[in-house]
Amino acid sequence: MTQSDLYIWGIIAALGLGTWLIRFSFIGLIGDRALPEWVLRHLRYTPVAVLPGLIAPLVLWPRATEGETDPARLAAAGVALALGVWTKNVIATVFGGMGTLYLVQYLLG
């Protein structure tokens, strides 16, 4: 990370304020007015719309290998996805994924 401390604190403050405003929006400001159905329908998908796109390049072209596709990381992501869908257990998924990464890295030397 190369940004200045002041810049990082600025990001933290902006994120803190922005997130609080999102949370406060209805119970604090807008009150009992109902959201239009189409807005709710889009909001429902924000996490599954943002996070997969954010990590896809990190899985396929990891920084740690300078962008070269790494079989261990691909396997780890695949196992994590399967475990996550199957168990719905966050902790088991994280450990299973990282365990796979270490195992494949070890096997491939």
């Binding site: 990370m1 990082i8 994120l15 119970i27 709710l40 599954v48 997969p52 899985v59």
Partner: protein, 236 residues
């Protein structure tokens, strides 16, 4: 015991099991944030001020890539947009509370405090406003306090974990763990698949614009598929 106090403790007991989810997660954020180059105060500052795991991981991941400020903020806040939905859902229950209580409740609005409280309010509609507020803060206590503590432990530990542990990859794996359980319907799966496809196809766009394009396309696809499923009567 007064009814508000017993409501608080009922909420506390309902929130307590989430310690098992929140603590490892906070620990991981502390480790990942420190590895990324944040100092202890910045890691704690983010955890205390933002208090939203997925958005914090997203912000750190983009800061490491030197993404433009607008992209860092837009992405992390987009991850938190779902909380507007929680806020709207809580209006009938907490909307009449004093302003300062609503301001504090907003600060502590996380997936668990929303989900657990709303279930209880629907189960016991006869609860008074004060009991509902007390219950909410009961749920929040065992969720948010361990979040701060475990982040701190992770940040202190973080600098001591050697690079062989490939912690760079803890972030993608954590996101997969968070998203996978949300792939409940065809619409969610279609949105996630669109997000991945667009992000990879447009990866060469500057300023991480591929991410914004992927998110917008994926939300539109999710909403369309949901509409289509509703018309066919396959939406539950």
């Amino acid at each position: 015991m007064s009814s508000t106090r017993s409501a608080y403790w009922r909420g506390f007991r309902a929130g307590a099991p989430f310690v098992l989810v929140v603590a490892p997660f906070g620990l991981l954020f502390g480790v990942v944030g420190t590895e990324a180059g944040l100092d202890l105060a910045q890691v704690m500052g983010m955890t205390v001020l933002v208090i939203a795991g997925a958005a914090q991981f997203a912000a750190v991941s983009l800061l490491v890539e030197n993404a433009p400020t607008v992209i860092v903020l837009a992405t992390a806040l987009a991850v938190n947009l779902r909380m507007a939905m929680y806020s709207a859902a809580l209006v009938p229950h907490l909307g009449g509370a004093p302003l300062w209580q609503r301001a504090v409740a907003a600060y502590f609005m996380v997936d668990q405090s929303y989900a657990v409280s709303i279930l209880e309010y629907e189960r016991r509609p006869q609860m008074s406003r004060a009991e509902k507020v007390a219950y909410y803060f009961g749920v929040v206590s065992p969720v948010c306090i361990p979040w701060y503590a475990s982040t701190w432990a992770g940040a202190v530990l973080g600098g001591r974990i050697p690079p062989e542990f490939a912690l760079d990859f803890a972030v993608p794996v954590t996101f997969i763990a968070m998203v996978a359980p949300a792939l409940r319907t065809l619409a969610h799966v279609a949105a996630a698949a669109t997000s991945v496809a667009v992000a990879l196809a447009l990866a060469l766009l500057p300023y991480n614009l591929w991410l914004i394009a992927a998110a917008i396309a994926a939300m539109a696809v999710g909403a369309r598929v949901e509409l289509w499923m509703r018309r066919r009567g396959t939406w539950t």
